[in-house]
Subunit: 342 residues, 2 copies
DNA sequence: CCGCGAATTGTAAACGTTTACATAACGTGT
DNA sequence: ACACGTTATGTAAACGTTTACAATTCGCGG
């Protein structure tokens, strides 16, 4: 059941069948009928493999993210899919599980035509050979767009779409400062994640601007996971004097931290304030609802994918990061510190 | 930069280059060196598109699930990936967003060689033409394995891997009954989801076995979402007398329900018990930690994918569902009903 | 140095499309 | 009915691999 067989049965050439499939308006009504009938009777289905091969296009895009099942990526993926569906792309997902992979591994995907382009929602380690060397072989830069993550200097030739993590984190920190907090802990992500490092930097900057010192022990790594954050929170709570507020580099870790705070018999926000980042869908149903920084996730996904499509089509999409707006969402997990602390 | 070019530079035939790529042990050391050098100098990367076309294999598997970002699927995907990586498959994800799609749309993916097989983690509506008709064209049944979901009668020719949802739900219900609960509410999923319907049935069965009546208004649809569950919980809490326990068809909905219970000023489990299903990673850090039914998610993923691989390779994998063990995890969200209720 | 089996390499066809180009059929105005 | 421009169809090559089969080379015992 190939196009050939259909052509034979319909009594036309393979070219005509192909045209029927791809631009029916270019085949005469009468012929169309014949081909249609032949297809129906044979149960023919076009061979996508052959078609893609011939066209030199996979119609596939790889999305690399740290972890599926992370509620944050739901919105981003939704945005990506919306554009992908419209543009005829299917999405291949790779999970890094928070390991950083070589950049080269990703560009190889494109060069070996496993996919037409790549969206990086996770950080990568610097490349060994690098896109420059590839370019030396006559290839252009592979179509890669970075979403959410801050781009490493070595990747600065690739465009990105993200919020201003540092500014947003500074804003969140300022919110706590404004409430009267002086000792603010920070549960960081992984060192490998530039994005959470930016948030840490925003925190530091806001503290500095408020003229507040930052003790080394106030910053502890939460490894981007529930358990990591719980351990981090325990460390923070054991300090004396302990922080009156904790800024978590993302909501997932805030969830872990809140649990440990409750287990320690402390009340949120009366005894200690908590603020997160991302505004995942659980943020508002936590106890208490979590103050956090919202990102326009679907928009990030859409813009990232749209930009990638243009790159695949050979358009020049530049290398500037596109910064999308964030928004501080104040809920009930933050309040003034206990009276005896002010 | 095709195999031809490499062959020319290395001074060998294309066949030899191909062999170098696919079975280096069949090419002599000296030749290997030459080819290696030619590849290095040209920066050649094999064209996966052409290779797959020639082999008649996409090396792609589609996974259909209701929603990424659902923590439950994290483990299943992990299991799928583990096997996929070992077997050389990439995973294409389709999200249904809880819409049910035609089965035909999925089998078409295989027939048109967009992928070699399909894993269904979501329910589908019955097919219009059906695999039987396809088979009439000489095709065999498309390689499809169903995971987690209960298979619809029309799909009974396809194998599945899942827990015994009805039995597990009955067990969970019995746990509540044993604690002394008589009025137990049930927040159901979507009617389209057979899996949650099985859970509902298990609940009904356990109630019946305990000789307890089930009022119609105790069962309310939570639409599988946080918001749906919140609305459902509000309905349940407005009843008089209100249930002393609520069984949620999954943990996500339990999270929504717990939030509404707290908002109503009730304590869990003192005033009302809550039990979930799935044991997602958040279950144990909820306030209070959630009693729920754990599924071996990674195992489900692994077995599903393994079975699919065998089907793709042409093996006969039968059509029997494989039932994997579940486990009731008792935490602190369930307790005896308030004293005046017993 | 010859001959023989095994190991290695080369030749060329095939996979199912798409598409440039050539050819044929159509419809229109005269 | 003719010629012409337009539109529809056919012919055949090409895409980059893999692989059956044929041809060559190798190693080695005689």
């Amino acid at each position: 059941m190939s196009i050939k067989e259909v052509a034979r049965i319909a009594g036309v050439s393979t070219a005509t069948v192909s045209r029927y499939l791809n631009s029916p308006e270019h085949v005469r009504e009468k012929t169309r009928k014949k081909v249609q009938e032949a297809i129906r009777s044979t149960g023919y289905a076009p061979n996508t493999l052959a078609r893609n091969f011939r066209r030199g296009k996979t119609s596939l895009v790889v999305v690399v993210l740290p972890s599926v099942g992370d509620p944050f990526f739901e919105g981003v993926m939704r945005g990506i899919w919306r554009v992908a569906d419209a543009e005829g792309y299917s999405i291949l997902i790779r999970e890094t599980q928070f390991n950083t992979h070589e950049f080269d591994d990703y560009s190889e995907i494109v060069f070996s035509k496993q996919a037409d382009g790549i969206i990086l929602l996770a950080s990568t380690s610097p490349f060994t050979s690098g896109p420059a060397e590839r370019a030396g072989h006559g290839d252009r830069l592979p179509p890669i767009v970075i979403g959410c993550e801050t781009v490493a200097p070595q990747l600065s030739q690739f465009p990105s779409v993200r919020v201003d993590n540092a500014a947003a984190a500074a804003e969140a920190t300022a919110h706590l400062v404004q409430l009267g907090h002086r000792r603010i802990g920070f549960i960081a992500g992984l060192q490998a994640s530039l994005l959470t490092r930016d948030r840490e930097q925003g925190y530091r900057q806001a503290m500095a601007e408020a003229g507040l010192p930052v003790a080394d022990e106030w910053i502890v790594e939460g490894r981007q996971t529930l358990d990591g954050a719980r351990a981090a929170a325990r460390q923070l709570l054991a300090l004396s004097p302990r922080p009156t507020a904790i800024f978590c580099a993302n909501d997932e870790m805030a969830m872990g931290a809140m649990h440990e705070i409750r287990r320690a018999g402390l009340r949120i926000p009366q005894d200690i304030s908590v603020i997160g980042f991302d505004d995942i869908r659980y943020a508002e149903i936590l106890d208490p609802p979590l103050t956090t920084v919202a990102q326009p996730t679907e928009e990030i996904g859409e813009h990232t994918m749209r930009r990638l499509c243009r790159a695949i089509d050979g358009g020049d999409i530049g290398a500037e990061p596109e910064i999308v707006p964030h928004r501080l969402v104040v809920r009930e997990s933050t309040a003034a510190p206990p009276a005896d602390e002010s």
